[in-house]
């Protein structure tokens, strides 16, 4: 394999964890690993990619990249891709990655493989495994031409430290501004230190059994005990009831998550919910209804009233942590 070019993403002044994940995986697959890091302030962050295996880091930095606009990022990435001529292009399938990757593929006249959960090398080809039909089936997919463009679901691969050469080069991109038609007028992002659900390693999620918005406080308390990589989620029933905002929703019409630990509290486990969290590494279900379908997916099940279990669990975890 001649080489991989990774799209790495900057958000809130940091490189996304998903970008480190795909860089680590590219190093493991072998060949030269180049990274294209785009964003305002990217230059100061670029060297961080070296320890996860980046041999070369192309930096596109400047005030014009402060807010993500598809066309500007496509142009910048394409200029780097034209220089590198990679056989494989990888990105993390974050909200931004999902927007950017198909646009880049179309600009390069090739296809793309979305939201993959595993990659295997077969000769010069990458065979990508991806869920379809909301996780009810998996497809092994390959690109029919180079570059093979693949987006990887966050949390599918571990971040691994394997040093790469790490040479940083700042790229001067000449944007064709006449083609950049969309303008970001304003951005409203919730001020929170919690990770996004798609990137969180631990999610404590609540459903209809939570009975009201005020009871999510205990799920937040439990999540906090797990540290900064934990957050809370919600089922569609809880969101439709107005107890949590849509941004918390896990499932087919919400977010697809793949944390190391998913704790489902008062969630029955409708197929649409399972579609959004079925690839979680460990699933714990707390529900007083022993017949709830969530127990068929759960690694550990507690059949009891969550209003008794969750507060007790908070106390027990505090004890374990000392």
């Amino acid at each position: 394999m001649a080489g991989t070019l990774i799209y790495a993403e900057v958000q809130k002044g940091e490189i996304k964890k998903g970008s480190f994940e795909v860089t680590s995986k590219a190093k493991e697959l072998g060949g030269d690993v180049a990274v294209c890091l785009i964003g305002k302030g990217a230059e100061g962050l670029a060297s961080q990619l070296a320890k996860y295996g980046a041999d070369k880091i192309y930096v596109v930095d400047g005030p014009e990249y402060e807010n993500y606009v598809t066309e500007a990022y496509v142009q910048a990435f394409k200029q780097v891709a034209d220089t590198v001529s990679p056989t494989v292009i990888l990105a993390s399938a974050t909200a931004q990655g999902k927007d950017l990757i198909p646009a880049i593929a179309a600009r390069l006249n090739v296809g793309a493989i979305s939201d993959c959960v595993d990659l295997k090398k077969e000769g010069d080809k990458i065979v990508a495994k991806r869920p379809m039909y909301a996780g009810k089936a998996y497809a092994m997919v390959e690109a029919l031409a180079n570059p093979q463009i693949i987006a990887v679901r966050p949390n599918s691969f571990a971040v691994k430290e394997t040093a790469g050469a790490g040479a940083v080069e700042k790229v001067a991109v000449s944007l064709d501004t006449s083609k950049i038609k969309a303008v970001v007028k304003s951005i409203e992002v919730a001020q929170t230190d919690e990770p996004d659900q798609t990137e969180a390693e631990i999610i404590v999620s609540g459903g209809r059994g939570m009975k009201g918005p005020e009871n999510f406080k205990m799920l937040e308390d439990l999540a906090k005990l797990f540290g900064p990589t934990a957050t809370t989620g919600a089922s569609r029933a809880a969101v439709d009831a107005g107890w949590r905002e849509h941004s918390y929703q896990v499932g087919q019409t919400g977010k697809t998550v793949s944390p190391n630990l998913y704790i489902a509290c008062g969630i029955s486990g409708a197929i649409q919910h399972l579609a959004g969290m079925g690839t979680s590494k460990v699933i714990v279900a707390i529900n007083k209804d022993a017949e709830a379908p969530i127990f068929q997916k759960a690694d550990y099940g507690v059949v009891d009233d969550l209003f008794n279990v969750v507060p007790a669990l908070i106390d027990e975890i505090k004890k374990v942590k000392g």
Partner: protein, 258 residues
């Protein structure tokens, strides 16, 4: 305001999926319009109603059965439709080939905006909106949850979902917009609507009629079912407190999270 809506017919979310080689067993499936495409149809209808002028054209790639989803769009209130009825092309179509066929059908139409669901819930690829825009040479805004158009139809101001929040984006028309949940509440087709839809014109084309030369750029080699999760462990105990204590121990010693 003239709009085009691209729709796809997909298995209903409750469908049990059985795999067969590089595809799925299609017998016994209940087919519906992709739920995200319903938001797209609804938004096009609302814009037409607000402007009190214009046409809504449905475009869909799919085999014979897809006409049902096309008729659903017409029954909701769309005016005309193009059905790219080409089973051979459709069977091998990846998102790129799908976008190429849709682009070929749309090229030459008069339109101010194209609405597409943010993703189809069968392949869950979410690629067609951006690829279609690229092939038509117009801008794209994905994950739209609010759409407003200027009175002179020169531009749209839309709110899109981004990670952890929202962004307001202004874009000149024509452009492609991908619809996310929250954009609107799709209407149901009324009985008169369903009757009228039967008489609305549907232009049926083969991919070759549209001059599509691009084939797929990716291929599914094999499909499989997810591995059955091994039976979970039910945590027992005298009361909730005892079960919570055991769960905390498991999270600490077995899962090694705490």
């Amino acid at each position: 305001m003239n709009t085009v809506v691209c729709i796809k017919q997909v298995p209903d979310t409750e469908t049990l999926i059985k795999v067969q080689g590089a595809g799925i067993v299609t017998e016994g499936i209940k087919w519906v319009m992709n739920p995200y495409d319903e938001f797209a149809v609804e938004e096009a209808l609302r814009q037409k109603e607000k402007m009190k002028a214009g046409n809504v054209t449905i475009v869909s790639l799919g085999p014979d059965r897809a006409i049902e989803a096309v008729r659903t769009g017409l029954a909701m209130g769309a005016d005309t439709a193009v059905h790219i009825n080409d089973a051979a092309y459709y069977d091998k179509a990846d998102p790129y080939a799908t976008a190429a066929a849709l682009a070929a059908a749309i090229k030459g139409m008069q339109y101010d905006a194209i609405f597409v669901g943010k993703q189809a819930i069968d392949d869950d690829a979410a690629q067609v909106p951006a690829m279609l825009a690229e092939m038509l040479g117009i801008p794209v805004v994905t994950m739209v949850i609010k759409f407003e158009v200027a009175a002179d139809k020169s531009k749209a101001t839309v709110t899109r979902e981004i990670e952890g929040g929202q962004a307001v984006v202004e874009v000149p028309l024509p452009a492609v917009f991908s619809a996310q949940k929250g954009l609107n509440e799709p209407r149901y087709a009324s009985l008169p609507g369903i009757m009228k839809a039967k008489k609305k014109p549907v232009d049926v084309k083969k991919a070759a009629d549209l001059g599509v030369s691009e084939g797929p750029k990716t291929a599914i080699k094999e499909m499989s079912l997810p591995p059955a999760r091994q039976a979970g462990k039910v945590i027992t105990g005298d009361d909730a407190a005892a079960k919570a204590k055991e769960l905390a121990r498991i999270l600490h010693e077995e899962v090694k999270i705490v």
